[in-house]
């Protein structure tokens, strides 16, 4: 058993090693010009301004025309972008950001402290209907322009995640002049400082972006300075995975996202197509066990379930080496992630013993464990919008192996609205829900007991329903601690407690694979939320 597990880890490392080298080796001097067609498998945004709502499809496209105050490098350090520097006060309640003084929005409006104030006000205005940005600014009590290049954030309590929050595309800076237009207009053509400009948007077809020739403000880790190389970007929406890949093979499009394991394996046979693997930050993909109700209110039953699930074999066979098994609640791109493989060994014998101890001693005719006449059932609603086919198959494998120990896993494939409705009704024992956020503060959102209280929409993020005062204390303190080492230790302790409490069964990082034509050079993802940036990209054709 141990040997098998080690083998899988070795394969996983090998794959990770290949992809980290990056597909784009330098091929001569970059050339300007040309049109790149990007095909997204994500839903078409209903609004191109990521302040409104705030989801991943918006982040993908808006990263081409909007920019944030700060960014993050591949080592996890916050780096300058539209803000050159920043200084927190000693009590952590006041942050002064010094802004670049040479940036204008593409409508000619000057980027200055007043523009930042207007953007934060826009995000915090309930009529903007912002979700993600609004949530990230929860501790921001006020913003004022100290001078034209210095803007001051006043916080209601210290926020160690402030810079990480501001690095996200959902909090990007838009022209305050453009924000004064109606929301419909701003949704159709948001105005930023980015390397491209939204020229037109034909719904259900494509967004056309053209180069911003006056561009001056790449993030500190960009590959070049000055305007982008590409003349134009056609941003298409191709929902079907097979057609998306067929369009890439035929050369109709140059880059596709949401590449599935089978197409990635096919692409590896092709010289014309390269791969870019860039796991998303925040939480790893994991199965949350609902500790708020039977049977998973008993830690022994949670551990038994985790021990009974043969995840390693399922992941390696169904993802064919394109995904690496995770043993952490956090994404592997988070420097603060704690990984503990020993907690997740597949061990049906141990699982059986644990179930005996927990009183699930009888078995019914179908081989499922029974206690006091109740069968050991696990309701597992699956979002068919969020779980790709390979992941749904992993769940089926888990269902099959857990059955051998006596768990009846009831998988219920649901569309997104029905799935959220099932969660809001507390109608689940196990669930897998992705969560993307920059930095370890995602732990507070997912595992602090405050997050069990549903929002008015019925949504709550703590789906494992972890309610542990010690974990609460660790996460609250970490969120207020700006000292990097101290903060890391606190998050480390919190993760130990979460993993050792068997609340979650980590699967793999949130998958984020791109396939591109080999003649597309210089494409990379922003290390904030792993959306691609076409700023450095050029066509070698």
């Amino acid at each position: 058993m141990l040997a098998a597990t080690t083998g899988i880890i070795a394969v996983g490392l090998l794959v990770a090693g290949c992809t980290q080298a990056g597909p784009n080796e330098p091929v001569g001097e970059p050339r300007s010009g040309g049109t790149l067609t990007y095909a997204s498998g994500d839903a078409e945004p209903s609004c191109l301004d990521p302040h409104v709502g705030g989801n991943f499809p918006q982040a993908l496209v808006s990263a081409q025309y909007l920019e944030s105050l700060v960014s993050r490098d591949s080592g996890g350090r916050i780096i300058p972008w539209l803000a050159e520097s920043w200084t927190p006060s000693d009590d952590g309640l006041t942050w002064d950001f010094t802004l670049r003084d040479d940036v204008t929005f593409t409508d000619g409006t000057v980027f200055d402290a007043e523009a930042v104030r207007a953007n934060i006000a826009h995000l915090q205005d309930p009529t903007t209907l912002s979700s993600t940005g609004y949530l990230a600014l929860g501790k921001v009590a006020g913003v004022e322009a100290v001078s034209s290049t210095v803007v001051r954030f006043t916080l209601s309590e210290p926020d160690s995640a402030l810079l990480e929050s501001l690095s996200q595309p959902w909090l990007a800076m838009e022209s305050p002049t453009a924000l004064l237009r109606s929301q419909d207009e701003n949704c159709a053509s948001p105005v930023g400082t980015g390397p491209f400009i939204v020229e037109s948007w034909v719904k259900q077809n494509a967004v056309t972006l053209v180069r911003n020739d006056d561009y001056v403000s790449p993030p500190a880790d960009a590959g070049h300075s000055g305007p982008a190389y590409l003349d134009e970007v056609i941003w298409r929406f191709i929902p079907d995975s097979a057609s998306r890949y067929a369009a890439l093979q035929a050369g109709e499009v140059d880059v596709i996202d949401n590449a599935q394991p089978d197409t990635i394996m096919q692409a590896e046979q092709s010289d014309a197509i390269e791969q870019l693997d860039s796991p998303r930050p925040g939480a790893a993909n994991r199965i949350e066990l609902n500790s708020g109700q039977a049977p998973f209110d008993d830690v022994r039953v949670r551990e038994a379930f985790i021990r009974s699930a043969n995840v390693d074999d399922a992941v390696s066979s169904l993802f064919q080496g394109t995904a690496t098994r995770s043993y952490s609640a956090l994404s592997s791109v988070e420097a603060t992630a704690v990984s503990n493989a020993a907690l997740f060994d597949y061990d049906p014998a141990a699982a059986a013993t644990l179930l005996d101890e927990a009183g699930w001693t009888e078995s019914d005719a179908d081989g499922y464990r029974v206690k006091n006449g109740v069968r050991l059932s696990v309701e597992f609603p699956v979002s068919t919008n969020q779980s790709i086919p390979a992941e749904q198959s992993v769940f089926e494998q888990i269902q099959a192996t857990a059955k051998e120990t006596g768990f009846e896993v009831k998988l219920a494939p649901l569309d997104l609205s029905s799935w959220y409705a099932a969660l809001a009704a507390n109608d689940y024992d196990a669930v897998s829900a992705p969560y993307t956020k920059v930095g370890p503060d995602v732990l507070r959102i997912l595992y602090h007991s405050d997050s069990i209280v549903p929002a008015p929409s019925g949504y709550f993020a703590n789906l494992a329903q972890v309610s542990d005062p010690d974990i609460d204390e660790l996460l609250t303190t970490a969120a207020r601690t700006t000292d990097a080492d101290e903060r890391r230790d606190l998050y480390s302790d919190a993760q130990d407690r979460i993993l050792e409490g068997f609340y979650v069964l980590p699967l793999y990082d949130q998958q984020n694979h791109f396939l591109l034509r080999s003649d597309v050079v210089g494409l990379r993802t922003l290390p904030t939320v792993a959306v691609p940036t076409l700023y450095d990209a050029w066509l070698n054709r």
């Binding site: 209903s46 989801n55 079907d240 998306r244 609205s417 949504y459």
Partner: protein, 321 residues
């Protein structure tokens, strides 16, 4: 005097028939709107979430309260139903919850793509079916057998399978056609083939059967006896007779093409009503779902009237009744 009475009676009969048609059409539209409204509202999912950026939005309480009040989601469903019906009665399709757009312009902007797809597919299906039917009745036993098998297989092909197979063979292996819609004529070929082939199989079966019956009928025999050529007997007499059931089925076929458009538009990434509908159902975007379904219902009603008229044109017996 007597002549004018007859004429007036005839006019009244036509008016009565028109009124009946109109009433029927209105009833269909009302039923479609009502069933759609309750169907979408009865499946789980909160429409307020569609306004706030999709299901699972972490909207602030203030934002949610504002949306709930603005759209009247706090009203009882029956009140919302009558409000929706009232708006529809005045021709107002309302505003999309999710797309920041009025439904009228949205649906109209997507209608063209789907109509082009449906009309071309129907035309191609007719051509293919006619070709198969005539060949099978004239080409002897082998032709009849081959045509029958082709029709049965074609009629049973699911759209998603056919679409993927056509992409693999014609786009990837042979490199002849773009695998996704590109806006040009080339991008239309695969979607139209996908919709036309199964329909052609279905229409072909019906046509061949009635063609065989017609060719053995006394009127064809008498035409032959009058010295009509074999080709004339087929094209002027038999086909006219044989096309009747297929014409009346075309109204139904048009409806099935629209539902096929949901699959085809998604696979080939074509803008259109089918894709709009799919997205709207996922988000519980009630006004868009109702808007699309109403437009499809109107198209369906018009198509039925057209096939009716076409049947009368082809078959003089219907004109007399």
């Amino acid at each position: 005097m007597a002549e004018s009475v007859v004429r007036r009676r005839a006019a009244l009969r036509v008016l009565g028939r028109l009124a009946g048609r109109l009433g029927g059409a209105l009833f269909v539209l009302w039923a479609v709107a009502s069933i759609t409204f309750f169907a979408v509202r009865l499946i789980p999912g909160d429409p307020a979430q569609a306004v706030l950026g999709g299901p699972g939005s972490q909207a602030s309480p203030e934002a949610l309260a504002a949306v709930t009040a603005e759209y009247g989601f706090d009203q009882p469903v029956i009140v919302q139903y009558f409000a929706q019906l009232g708006r529809l009665a005045t021709g107002d399709l309302g505003r999309s919850y999710a797309l920041n757009m009025d439904v009228g312009p949205l649906v109209l902007s997507q209608l063209g793509g789907t109509l082009v797809l449906a009309v071309l597919s129907l035309a191609l299906a007719w051509l293919l079916a006619l070709a198969l039917a005539t060949w099978s009745t004239r080409g002897g036993l082998v032709a009849a057998r081959v045509a029958t098998s082709l029709e049965i297989v074609a009629a049973a092909l699911p759209h998603f399978w056919l679409a993927t197979s056509l992409i693999v063979v014609l786009s990837i292996w042979l490199g002849l056609l773009p695998p996704i819609s590109t806006g040009g004529v080339a991008g239309l070929v695969l979607p139209v083939l996908t919709l036309a082939i199964p329909l052609a199989g279905f229409l072909g079966q019906i046509m061949r059967e009635s063609l065989l019956t017609a060719l053995e009928s006394p009127f064809v025999l008498s035409a032959r006896a009058r010295g009509e050529s074999e080709r004339g007997a087929l094209w002027i007499h038999a086909l006219r007779h044989a096309s009747l059931p297929a014409i009346s089925l075309s109204g139904w076929a048009f409806g099935s093409l629209i539902s096929g458009a949901v699959v085809v538009e998604t696979i080939f990434a074509r803008p259109g009503l089918g894709r709009t509908l799919l997205g709207a159902v996922t988000l519980r975007d009630v006004p868009v779902v109702i808007g699309v379904v109403m437009i499809v219902a109107v198209a369906y009603i018009l198509m039925t009237l057209l096939t009716d008229a076409a049947s009368r044109l082809v078959d003089p017996r219907l004109r007399l009744s």
